[in-house]
């Protein structure tokens, strides 16, 4: 995937889908498959990628960068707080529901990427614009407010930093910079 800003809707969708697949992966195979779609030249094994990914985002040790919006947006560094509640309400209004309600916070990055992907898909692949305002509201009033802090947290980790995770962070950053620019936000 190129780092150039993309305005092609298919490319935009693909980029978000890849990131969504990476962050919603629940095992090494799914993660590897997603990571390979980033089309990169990094030399890393499937096992090492997963170990790095877990160290940064999953655990069991305290994750380097917790992948929940509330950690970056709310005063208290906990999950299931005000931001989570707001995102839950937005999903309700968008006609989306979290099958893991009350067990996986709605502001988990994997779910947010999934929501954004589905909203963009609706507009670009189905030509349904009913939720356009909601997608941009989600982008500008929520995602934009935390995603770059999350990226910064990843990239500022110097202790045993991971080129693969830094690449994912960079892709995430460029993806939303692109979305924001495309929607006239920058």
């Amino acid at each position: 995937m190129t780092k150039a800003m993309s305005s092609n809707s298919t490319q935009r969708l693909e980029k978000i889908e890849v990131l969504k697949n990476i962050f919603t992966s629940s095992n090494d195979k799914e993660l590897w498959r997603g990571f390979k779609e980033l089309k990169n030249d990094l030399e890393i094994s499937q096992d090492s990628l997963e170990a790095d990914f877990n160290r940064y985002f999953i655990g069991p040790d305290s994750p380097i960068a917790s992948p929940y919006a509330s950690i970056y947006l709310d005063k208290q560094e906990v999950v299931m707080s005000k931001s989570t509640e707001k995102v839950r309400e937005l999903y309700d209004l968008m006609g989306l529901k979290n099958p893991l309600k009350d067990t996986q916070p709605e502001d988990f990055i994997g779910l947010e990427l999934d929501a954004y992907y589905q909203l963009l898909f609706l507009e670009k692949e189905k030509n349904i614009n009913y939720l356009h305002d909601f997608r941009l509201y989600f982008l500008f009033e929520h995602i934009q407010k935390w995603i770059f802090d999350f990226v910064e947290k990843i990239q500022s980790n110097e202790k045993e930093s991971s080129a693969a995770i830094n690449l994912i962070a960079q892709e995430l950053k460029s993806c939303f910079e692109n979305e924001i620019e495309h929607e006239g936000g920058l």
């Binding site: 969504k20 919603t24 629940s26 090494d28 096992d47 090492s48 997963e50 170990a51 877990n54 160290r55 999953i58 655990g59 069991p60 040790d61 305290s62 994750p63 917790s66 929940y68 950690i71 560094e77 906990v78 999950v79 299931m80 707080s81 989570t84 509640e85 839950r88 309400e89 937005l90 999903y91 309700d92 209004l93 006609g95 989306l96 529901k97 979290n98 099958p99 309600k101 009350d102 067990t103 996986q104 999934d114 929501a115 992907y117 589905q118 898909f121 609706l122 692949e125 189905k126 349904i128 009913y130 939720l131 356009h132 305002d133 997608r135 941009l136 509201y137 500008f140 009033e141 006239g184």
Partner: protein
């Protein structure tokens, strides 16, 4: 930006706009056109005008299951499936509507981003930090296969060991022991690191460990808090002590350390460490010499008092003064004040018995209380702890062994709760193998037949067990270590598989205290987060996999409901004791056991049926029959190291939460100014603390709260910091513990160290 923020805000904040928007959403065909993914299409959109005002809370009954005197009854408040806050239950006069700072941080514990969320395997080897996420099925199949392989290789399951203790004292959590019962005869790390020497001492003296209700202390006329620091470790009891003190009652703290409680006392007595037993005997001698002993009570209720009185004659009060470091006037003042008051009481802390002479100290203090006739008296008593309200069914524990199981032939039941083996109504041919929990490291290394698999539950072995370097060796020598926990800690670091465990808010359970007399239901208030499971659900899943791989290899039920299993723990005895007809009544709030003063009827469960100053049982277990003075372990290095509990953590729990880290960010060693001068230390200097066991580096804090010759470090665990007092504490035994808990305790306060400025 081509969108209307105002429009979206209006939809979010106005019920009528929202209804109109949702109707349009249904008509737009958007929902059916979503591609689907981690988020699903919500086909069941509700287009009624929603209520957007403040929602009310749903409330639940909970209990703090930590290893704490206070075992708070909790009321939790949930909104939209999310725990919002908790408060102490008003219904309990003990909890009295308030929790401690640790309890008040529970929401942050449940929703900490650092919780262990999924089963994981350390594929890079123990300590490597290379973890792989696995499914529950993969985790349990791996463990089940290992267990079955052990059974095949060894012909038994003694290679599978369990260490579990007080990380969660909920009654259904005995289902972890039940899980091990259900697979066959296994190995258990048994005994208790907590209070065994004192349990034995009280059992030799009174035939039981049975404490007066702490709420009575408001009516005590003289209170000695001996080696206990409730201002830090039992804040709810302090209100009764304050109430007594307000009425002019003398509250005396006897402790080598000037504690928070000492600062609140009428009088603080800085006794030399380990000399408490001699102090108690000296006080008893002074009371008897003054003729202030309760002759009537002693004649009616005791055995061996004459021998004890004779022994007291051999006590040299000048020697008492010298050994304890206290003037005779002071000792006399306290002794006679205690004897004059009616009722008078002593609260014996658990730290006292964590010495090589710990059991003998508790026996001596018991004797002091008995001499004054304060045993069996309302607001009196030699207070230590009790298990009298713990008479549950232990259904989760009581699992039969699979047919044909082969085990150990020379074992006996161990554990202070008396159900270490469990499950067998008749004395079986075989039994489980018991290893001493207080020597976990060396037992794991030396056991024959070899331990190959270790399951850790409700316990942070590296924070609580002794000799860290040996423990690393022990863990790395095992084929498989499984740790079930809520947070990453040093024990998880040395595991092969970690399993995420539910908090008490995510499961049903029932709790009582080893101190007060309240019974609390613990209701499931929220859904389990991520993929966490309760300990008994994990057991059921293991059973499913074991039985799939080998039919009838595990007797544990394969499906269960924590609510139904909680209900199974109740019986008529519990209902009668607490005056309820059904456990369901507990959803209205905690209830208290009917008032009963221990030993008020003069009936003791000793062999003689009386209070035994002279105990044949003590003699059988290798102790003196009388509560004689036993000197404490001799120094083997420059400073005594004492490692008590901090008020900011409960053992290794809570300190990793951000609130605690904010106010107590780093470990330190407390050093007396005199010792600091000798070592040329200043506040915040970094020192190496070392002894024959190992070494630690920590910052210095200079204070005369600790006596010269003694240094203090709290035993807590600090998240992400290399700090573990067990690097220095060895596993030398205390004198007692084998009688009732199967293994002696640990003389952990008899550790010695030296210091060097780094």
């Amino acid at each position: 930006m081509s969108y209307s923020k105002t429009k979206v805000d209006a939809i979010l904040n106005n019920g009528v706009s929202r209804r109109g928007f949702l109707k349009g959403l249904l008509a737009s065909g958007a929902i059916a056109s979503f591609p689907g993914g981690a988020l699903a299409r919500n086909e069941a959109i509700n287009t009624k005008i929603p209520y957007l005002g403040k929602k009310s809370y749903e409330t639940f009954r909970n209990a703090c299951p930590r290893n704490c005197y206070d075992t708070c009854s909790i009321k939790s408040f949930v909104k939209d499936g999310v725990l919002q806050f908790i408060e102490g239950a008003q219904e309990s006069t003990f909890t009295n509507g308030g929790c401690c700072v640790k309890g008040n941080s529970y929401v942050r514990r449940v929703y900490s981003p650092n919780r262990i969320k999924y089963p994981m395997m350390q594929v890079g080897g123990k300590g490597s930090g290379t973890w792989k996420r696995i499914s529950w099925d993969e985790a349990m199949e791996t463990i089940a296969k290992k267990m079955l392989a052990l059974k095949k290789e060894d012909g038994n399951l003694l290679g599978a060991a369990l260490t579990k203790y007080s990380g969660n004292f909920g009654i259904t959590h005995y289902g972890v022991e039940g899980m091990f019962n259900s697979i066959g005869y296994t190995t258990r790390l048994a005994g208790t690191p907590c209070w065994p020497a004192g349990i034995d001492a009280q059992n030799f003296d009174m035939g039981n460990m049975w404490t007066n209700d702490p709420e009575e202390m408001k009516d005590s006329k003289y209170i000695i808090l001996w080696g206990v620091n409730p201002a830090a470790t039992s804040i709810h009891t302090m209100k009764y002590i304050y109430e007594a003190k307000k009425r002019g009652v003398k509250v005396v703290v006897i402790d080598p350390i000037f504690t928070e409680t000492a600062s609140k006392a009428s009088e603080y007595i800085q006794v030399k460490v380990g000399s408490d037993g001699l102090l108690a005997l000296g006080m008893a001698k002074i009371i008897v010499d003054a003729g202030m002993h309760d002759k009537k009570w002693l004649k009616k209720n005791s055995k061996g008092y004459a021998e004890f009185e004779k022994y007291l004659k051999t006590i040299d009060l000048n020697e008492v003064s010298k050994v304890t470091g206290l003037s005779l006037d002071l000792i006399s003042d306290i002794a006679l004040g205690f004897a004059k008051a009616d009722p008078a009481t002593v609260w014996i802390g658990y730290g006292i018995q964590r010495h090589s002479n710990g059991g003998s100290i508790v026996r001596a203090i018991d004797a002091l209380v008995a001499v004054t006739g304060n045993i069996g008296k309302y607001a009196g008593g030699s207070r230590y702890g009790h298990l009298s309200t713990w008479g549950f069914n232990y259904h989760a524990l009581s699992m039969p062994k699979p047919e044909g199981s082969v085990g150990y032939e020379n074992a006996k039941t161990m554990g202070e709760f008396g159900h270490g083996a469990g499950g067998d109504a008749e004395k079986p041919k075989y039994n489980d193998r018991y290893l001493n929990i207080n020597k976990t490291a060396r037992e794991l290394i030396n056991a024959t037949p070899k331990v190959k698999l270790l399951w850790v539950a409700c316990k942070n072995v590296f924070a609580q067990d002794f000799n860290r370097q040996q423990m690393i060796k022990a863990f790395t020598s095992l084929d498989m270590v499984v740790v079930a926990d809520q947070f990453f800690n040093e024990t998880v670091k040395w595991a092969d598989i970690v399993l995420p465990v539910a908090t008490q808010f995510e499961e049903y359970d029932v709790n009582v205290s080893y101190w007060h007399y309240w019974l609390s239901l613990n209701e499931q208030a929220i859904k389990p987060l991520y993929e966490v499971k309760s300990d008994i659900e994990i057991a059921a899943l293991l059973s499913k996999h074991m039985n799939r791989l080998e039919k009838d290899s595990c007797t544990y039920p394969q499906h269960l409901d924590t609510k139904k299993w909680t209900a199974k723990e109740f019986n008529k005895g519990i209902y009668d004791m607490f005056g309820i007809k059904s456990w369901k009544e507990l959803s209205n709030g905690p209830v208290k056991a009917k008032d009963k003063v221990p030993y008020a009827d003069g009936k003791f469960t000793t062999p003689s049926g009386k209070y035994e100053f002279y105990s044949e049982q003590a003699k059988e277990y290798g102790h003196t029959a009388l509560p004689e003075y036993l000197p404490v372990r001799e120094a083997y290095d420059k400073f005594r190291l004492t490692t008590p509990h901090s008020r900011f953590s409960l053992h290794s729990q809570f300190q990793n939460l951000d609130w605690m880290e904010d106010i107590n960010p780093e470990p330190c060693i407390y050093v007396n100014p005199t010792d600091a001068r000798v070592k040329r230390l200043h506040n915040n200097d970094l020192v190496a603390v070392f002894n024959k066991q190992g070494n630690l580096k920590v910052k210095v804090r200079i204070t005369d709260n600790v006596p010269s010759g003694t240094v203090l470090m709290f035993e807590q665990w600090y998240n992400n910091k290399i700090y573990n007092v067990n690097e220095l504490v060895d596993d030398t035994s205390s004198d007692m513990g084998s009688f009732k808990t199967g293994a002696p305790g640990v003389a952990l306060h008899d550790t010695y160290v030296n210091l060097r400025k780094v």
